[in-house]
């Protein structure tokens, strides 16, 4: 058994036990790694997780579909909208609802903004952990701008609960579009500056290139997905291989790395931000050709009606009651749906038995599956390299523990 050894009382022992975490400023989250050190080199490590396990899968068995959206917020809380949309699309797949194109494009805008905010966090944190605080400060304010856009659309910033099953709760207003356009104008400038400070920076390259390199075979064997897998040279992206939300209408590239080291991961994430900007621009362009004002599918029996409707309209009141009580007429079936989250393939495995709540809901959480390689791959690594390796894996504690 691979139990962590927390203390060693043997003064003759040459190795030092270092208890890194659960709360440590360098790990950016609730992670514990008990590491045996020989000087600065890691001899062995054991990861302990579960410090913020909230039993979401159990709770989800006791909630109607629409109440599960706030649970998904708290998985990867750096890109909550992707989780929300992924869950909505899972239920829509179960119910066989097809979205109008305009809703798909609005969703693409939100999901790509979320991806940018996720990658901003990861890449600026890599820079921060290698000592480049300036770049962190330059780019990080754009996460704030993205949160302002969310705020305009759904009223919330971090745990967004954005959208509904069947569409959005309200249409994007003028201010939201103005803010998106402003973001599209300002963000590329800042991102270019960010890249010019780091991409060919000797110190940064020395710290990151050839560190924690992972081959494609290893990455696939350990179940890696997302930017981590792509940095190892595998061009797997759920948006392309299994398109959802009309991603097949868009023209974008999937950047891949070659060596799977930290520098490649950084470059892949940067390029994905550029591609996300492209996707948002295309989506805005496509929206001009769609009929205005459509922000949800015409499925009154599944789409939670607006409150004014509920108070003034008999049908809306009935549907509202049935949805809130979980009495919707959903097929007894099981469905797996996955979306490309900030860290990789975010999957939802939903089994419905016709009850008011899911019979079983399982989240395939990319952070959880990506992180299991951390301890084995740290062996023989310098402690300082292991820290930036962890930053570059972008492990989000909420997604790790569910």
């Amino acid at each position: 058994m691979n139990q962590p050894v927390y203390t060693d009382n043997d003064p003759q022992n040459e190795l030092v036990t270092l208890n890194l975490g659960p709360t440590h400023p360098a790990t950016h989250g609730v992670f514990q790694n008990v590491i045996q050190l020989d000087g600065e080199r890691i001899v062995s490590g054991v990861s302990t997780i579960g410090y913020i396990h909230r039993a979401f899968e159990k709770i989800a068995e006791h909630r109607p579909f629409y109440q599960i959206t706030p649970l998904t917020d708290r998985l990867n809380y750096c890109s909550s909208p992707i989780n929300n949309m992924g869950w909505h699309m899972t239920v829509e797949k179960l119910l066989n609802i097809k979205m109008p194109k305009r809703v798909d494009y609005l969703r693409v805008i939100i999901m790509e903004l979320a991806r940018i905010s996720d990658h901003i966090i990861c890449n600026t944190i890599i820079a921060q952990d290698t000592g480049a605080t300036t770049t962190f400060l330059y780019l990080f304010q754009f996460r704030e701008h993205i949160y302002e856009i969310y705020e305009e659309i759904c009223g919330a910033r971090l745990t967004t609960n954005i959208g509904r099953i069947g569409g959005f709760e309200r249409d994007f207003n003028e201010i939201a579009f103005a803010k998106i356009n402003k973001f599209l104008k300002e963000f590329p400038v800042a991102l270019r500056e960010f890249e010019s400070l780091l991409n060919r920076n000797r110190i940064f390259i020395d710290r990151t290139a050839k560190v924690a390199a992972v081959s494609a075979e290893q990455a696939l064997d350990y179940g890696w997905t997302g930017p981590l897998l792509r940095s190892a040279g595998v061009d797997y992206d759920v948006r392309v291989s299994d398109p959802y939300s009309s991603y097949e209408d868009f023209d974008f590239e999937v950047p891949v790395g070659t060596s799977g080291d930290i520098y490649d991961r950084y470059l892949v994430r940067n390029e994905e931000m550029w591609q996300s900007v492209r996707l948002i621009e295309q989506a805005l362009e496509k929206l001009k050709h769609e009929p205005a004002g459509i922000f949800h599918a015409d499925v009154p029996e599944f789409y939670l009606p607006a409150k004014e409707e509920v108070y003034n309209n008999m049908e809306a009141l009935i549907y509202h009651f049935k949805i809130v009580m979980g009495e919707i007429d959903a097929p007894k079936a099981e469905v797996y749906h996955s979306v490309e989250g900030g860290n990789g393939e975010l999957g939802f495995y939903l089994i419905n038995d016709g009850g008011r709540t899911p019979y079983r809901l399982h989240f395939r959480r990319p952070s959880f599956i990506n992180y299991q390689m951390f301890a084995p791959m740290s062996k023989g690594m310098l402690l300082s390299d292991a820290i930036i390796n962890m930053s570059s894996m972008n492990i989000i504690a909420g997604e790790l523990d569910a």
């Binding site: 159990k58 006791h62 909630r63 179940g223 495995y349 009850g355 019979y359 399982h362 992180y371 523990d401």
Partner: protein, 167 residues
């Protein structure tokens, strides 16, 4: 890359494993079948290496508890062939009083934590697993909380019964 249909895969699997492959179904286009625990590793290895679409990627392992069934725990594997863009779901129903099944860590290292999570939440013992410990819950918990007999709310409270909360 040539398209591989579910029919071709099923034909290939039944040729190889005969009546061990049962309950073939295609919910939402995702090929699903059941098999037994004595051949599960052979089935997974066959899917990984030999079939028309090589299912090189282990997407997920989880379990589902059906208390009313004779074999009450279903261990569910999701595999993915990235080259052929096709997914497959394999289920194994095992006795909930003796929930034992061979480990898939021999085929994919990714199975390690997925199986630990399944053990933690459902008590499924993966035989041959290198490090089968609890992963999310504390070691002293004593129960496997995702089994249906454990209520969500504190059972000693009279005001918060599960039946008021959907189930």
């Amino acid at each position: 890359m040539a398209e591989v249909t579910n029919q071709e895969l099923i034909q290939q699997l039944t040729e190889k494993f005969g009546e061990k492959i049962v309950g073939i179904n295609e919910p939402y286009g995702l090929l699903t079948f059941e098999t037994t625990k004595d051949v599960i590793i052979n089935v997974l290895a066959f899917l990984k290496q030999n079939t028309l679409a090589s299912f090189n990627f282990l997407t997920d392992i989880t379990a589902v508890h059906y208390p009313e069934k004779k074999h009450g725990i279903a261990v569910v594997y999701h595999l993915h062939s990235m080259v052929n863009k096709i997914r497959i779901r394999v289920k194994v129903f095992i006795d909930e009083h003796h929930p034992e099944i061979p480990t898939a860590t021999t085929l994919w290292n990714a199975a390690n934590w997925m199986e630990r999570e399944t053990y933690d939440l459902f008590g499924v013992k993966f035989e041959g697993h290198p490090d089968l410990r609890r992963i999310l819950n504390m070691d002293e918990l004593g129960v496997h909380p995702m089994l249906k007999q454990y209520p969500l709310e504190d059972p000693n409270r009279v005001d918060k019964k599960d039946e008021y909360f959907g189930r």
